[in-house]
Subunit: 321 residues, 2 copies
């Protein structure tokens, strides 16, 4: 029997995975929770314009407002996967609590979210469920409600949380994605991939948001910018090293930094900059705050990152006033 | 004969000193350069609403657009004082170059500007002129063109640049102010006062601008805010100490920090925050960049201040795009 899937938080990434999974599953097995794009998605489904899959790709999942509604669709059936694609924000109630009505003993929880140390609330609430942590490389933007622009990359790194040599659950989910034509890599410890992506996310994201500038604009505005960003990345690497990931090193930093330095003006707009310019809440705690807290726990000094964290946290607070 | 005075840059501080000096000088001896408020100031002069001097205090100086116009008013007479009250921005041509037409061998140049290490361009261009550096405590805001709101404090610290036991020139200017009923303190080395004010300006100003929040909002938004600002002030103090000012110490920091912690929400709006919210250029180089450069010259580590500097510099650059 084809698995049933709930996607929680269907912005650009959620819409892309709804589309991808519709290649392997009947759309009636795909349920998505939507907020700001609910009207558009329930009327017209989602439209993906992709440089990989082509223009005007359509998917029409079952669209609901809440997890309660999702669970009520078929009370005799369970969700095989609950995939969290919402922003990693510290809400009350938490996302981990919100998904409860959809969690059965057989449900695998998949976190497609940025940041570090974001898995713990799920592991605590659902200690007997399979929990997958992932790192996504899918450059996608929702250009209007239900309409998503997707560019050339599509890859999901998958591992269980906590890390484990038992990759059965991760492999099963990867195979579902692959059967849909998507790309997936299974890891015994996916946290290395998290730290690798965090090198970029915990530096460029808040730096661009605070300076209201795109990455290349940051690099061109001040002679010290490049060295400054490298030093911030070195602090992130020091925390990763203290957590047992020596592979987060200067070679990787110079590679990641190089990606921005070869771009043309104005460069790319990280999600936190887009959020800041729109006055929306940003993933400060998941992406920066948690690194600072992990650093403190390991007694690693991160003065630059701490500065960025407090500034971004207060800026984020200003959007809630 | 009453001295002739040119005020360069007549925003809130310039208007207050035009008003003050009009108590000691005929208004025809007072010339002010104006830009955005030229129309209002040349038609109606300046109006000061002050908790010290009362509501609706008026002054009608001679209002001009440029220093050339100021110099042309009376080619046979020189300016005894050229008082710089403009923002300390790195412009081309520089403010030091712009005032040239008004500088005679007898002219004393007075800098009423924030920041550190801002005197050098004037000292270089006018090595034989008397040069006074000052620190101003005049909380004033231009609420509409030519109209200034001024609150309870009015004090100018004055010293020669470079610092010197010869306080003749500073004393003469202080006496002019005192004869007008204003407050002035003469110092052999006014740079201590600059560092003391910089403790607040180089921390709160860019921190509030970057986080788009007032001082008390910053303190309340994150549990780490207060300790963070204290650490930034400690970095500024370390630079001051390296420059020979051991009096910039933790006692002074705790006093300065305490001023914000006792305020009610939302707190005060530093000038750089007002500039940022209006998309205007900010005094980043004079107030933060110069501290980072002085720190580097003295081999003092200032990672937090450097982070704040680069972020504020790029934010400022965004206002010029």
């Amino acid at each position: 029997m084809a698995p049933r899937v709930l996607i929680f938080g269907t912005g650009s990434i959620g819409a892309v995975y709804a589309y991808v999974l519709s290649k392997a599953l009947p759309s009636s097995n795909l349920v998505t929770t939507c907020r700001s794009n609910f009207e558009a998605a329930s009327q017209d489904g989602f439209t993906i314009h992709s440089s990989i899959w082509g223009e005007n790709q359509k998917v029409r999942p079952v669209v609901v407002h809440t997890v309660d509604e999702a669970a009520a669709i078929d009370p005799n059936s369970h969700f095989d996967y609950v995939i969290i694609c919402s922003k990693a924000l510290p809400t009350v109630p938490s996302t981990a609590e919100l998904i409860k009505p959809a969690i059965s003993p057989k449900t695998t929880i998949v976190l497609i979210q940025n940041g570090i140390a974001i898995e713990e609330p799920y592991a605590k609430l659902y200690p007997n469920n399979s929990l997958l942590s992932t790192v996504v490389y899918v450059p996608a933007t929702q250009t209007s409600p239900g309409v998503v622009l997707h560019k050339e990359v599509e890859l999901l790194h998958i591992g269980s949380y906590p890390a484990s040599p038992n990759t059965e659950s991760a492999t099963k989910f990867a195979e579902l994605l692959k059967s849909a034509g998507a790309s997936a890599q299974v890891h015994e410890d996916v946290q290395f991939e998290r730290w690798s992506k965090l090198l970029i996310n915990a530096s460029w994201n808040p730096i661009c948001a605070l300076s209201r500038s795109r990455d290349v604009q940051v690099l061109r505005a001040n002679d010290d910018s490049k060295e400054f960003i490298r030093e911030v990345m070195l602090e992130i690497a020091a925390v990763a090293n203290a957590c047992g990931y020596p592979g987060i090193n200067t070679a990787l930093i110079d590679y990641q930094l190089g990606r921005a330095t070869v771009r043309e003006l104005p460069g790319v707009e990280p999600s936190m900059l887009a959020d800041a310019l729109a006055g929306r809440r940003m993933e400060v705690e998941a992406i920066v705050g948690n690194v600072v807290r992990v650093a403190k726990a390991h007694d690693v000094k991160t003065p630059m990152l701490k500065t960025i964290y407090v500034l971004a946290s207060v800026l984020d607070d200003s959007f809630g006033r």
